[in-house]
Amino acid sequence: MSVLEWMPFSVLLPLIAAPVCALLPGRLLPWLLALISVTASAVIMAFVLPQALVEPMRYFFGNWPPPIGIEYRVDAVNGFIGLLIALMGAVILPWGRLSVNREVPERQGLFYALFLLAFSGLMGITLTGDAFNVFVFLEISSLSTYVLVAQGGSRAAPLSAFRYLVMGTLGATFYLIGIGLIYILTGTLNMVDLAERLPAVADSRAVQAAFAFIIVGIGLKLALFPLHRWLPGAYANAPSAVTVFLASTATKVAIYVLLRLVFTVFGLEFVTSMPFAEVFFVLGIIGILFASTWAIEQDNTKRLLAYSSVAQVGYMALAISFVSIAGISAGLVHMFNHALMKAALFMCVCTVIYQAGSPHISAFRGLGRQMPLTMLAFVLAGLSIIGVPLTVGFVSKWLLIEAAIAEGSWFAVVVVLVGSLLAVIYIGKVAEAAWLRPAPEGREPVREAPLGLLVPMWVLVIANFYFGIDTRLTVDVARRGAEMLLGASP
């Protein structure tokens, strides 16, 4: 079989493995099956990406060519995102085993089945070339995510999951309305076909309404500021492994869908005729400033990092709002980099919860001496989110500032710098408690985390530095992707 024929299996393998996983007894087998299928998915994507860079790979399901059948279409953009998601899954599962044993002690077969469904949903959204198929996979991943969030064990977990469900369903239904309107106008759901047929009807009010519905629907999914209300609760109350996985993949996929629909389907000409760039510029900037400030106010470190995620979505929205090759490639690079740094940070915090039992900053006091490897990882990943040179965060911010200067937007440059300073405060708050405060008296000494938690965490921390120094993969692929989205290259 050729790489092309293997490509759909990066979605299908976890999807097929999920029901099997639900039937497996005990703790080891479901985890092992989940790990194998997610790793296989990552390996397939690693073979797919180099070919997709040469020319888009198209797989027709049931050998029905589009527009009749559904196709998977992988090019530089979604090959890149797909590889990122699969790799994050393959790093997070080994880390998650211990924390899942602690937090979801029973019926782990079902837990890993849901994890696989959420994973294959995200992969499906990324690879498909059909606008309605995106909706189906969006709901597969969302529904399993709601249930995963509700497994969090705290009193509020079902409540957070319910609020996420309401917002998520509204978002998906808004998206469905938008797709319905453009289907009525063009009679096709294939993205490439839509791109060909939409310009002829671009002047109509219906297309503009469809665009607005789709943007708001995806905006809810990606937690763009004012639509982010569900995110802090869902991240703070979900089980640790789920939080790490969601924080590093779910919003990235939503941003990919946004880029794909806005630039490939609706096209540059239509987008510039709508107030898209202005809205994203303003929301991005407000998001960066407000969410970073809220992050500083938080006492629960999981919530603190969740607000920081909202701020990072603001950076990506700001990067996209420049509607230039430099801007969009900065956004794509930041998606990759943010996945690395936020996963590492959440792993550190959740490791502290595992060892010390509380996510509060007061529990971090004195941990620098007691859990030096974990807290060192936190500081290094924190430096990355602040944007210190040699880390991936620096690469992101450098590209973003470069794009802003090219557009002559000095205001955006100032906002990015202020955002970094705010990140210094909220990361510094935790680091200061860990390294400079003495441990509270009377507390049992907390021991360093077991290797099962430390190794994946440090793999990500090292990746934060590796991709900060060797930017060939990320920056080059992202630039190719941005050129493709803006139609500068086929």
């Binding site: 709901e139 064990g153 009193r155 079902p158 409540l159 609020r163 239904t173 319905g180 609760g233 629960n300």
Partner: protein, 120 residues
């Protein structure tokens, strides 16, 4: 303008706004789920309306018929209905869990536990 000819679209808009209002304005979780259902149903009608072609037969191959309705929206909506049912089921299950934990399903009166401690 042909007001009556667009009757189904008026119904869609009316249901959409009713459902959306219920989701935003109601605090009771069951009412929120009912609102979500009405909202989703309006979208189903929007899709199915688009499949109807006036004077066309049902899309089954038959001699002497050359105008068929479009079956694709129905297929899409079958999928969407399944999604809607699943969402309702998960939503109701979560509402049961919330009631077990808080003793109430008034969403607007509950606060997410700030400390995230395990429930007793």
């Amino acid at each position: 303008m042909d007001w009556l000819g667009h009757l189904n679209y008026w119904v869609v808009i009316f249901l959409m706004m009713t459902g959306f209002y219920a989701v935003i304005a109601r605090g009771n979780m069951i009412k929120i789920i009912i609102g979500l259902n009405i909202f989703q149903t309006s979208v189903f009608i929007l899709f199915i309306s688009a499949g109807k072609i006036i004077g066309a037969s049902s899309p089954v191959l038959e001699e002497g018929v050359d105008l068929y309705s479009n079956p694709l929206p129905h297929v899409l909506i079958l999928t969407a209905i399944v999604v809607g049912v699943a969402t309702t089921a998960v939503g109701l299950a979560l509402a049961v869990r919330v009631r077990e934990n808080y003793g109430s399903i008034q969403d607007d009166q509950l606060t997410e536990d700030e400390d995230g401690e395990p429930s007793p």
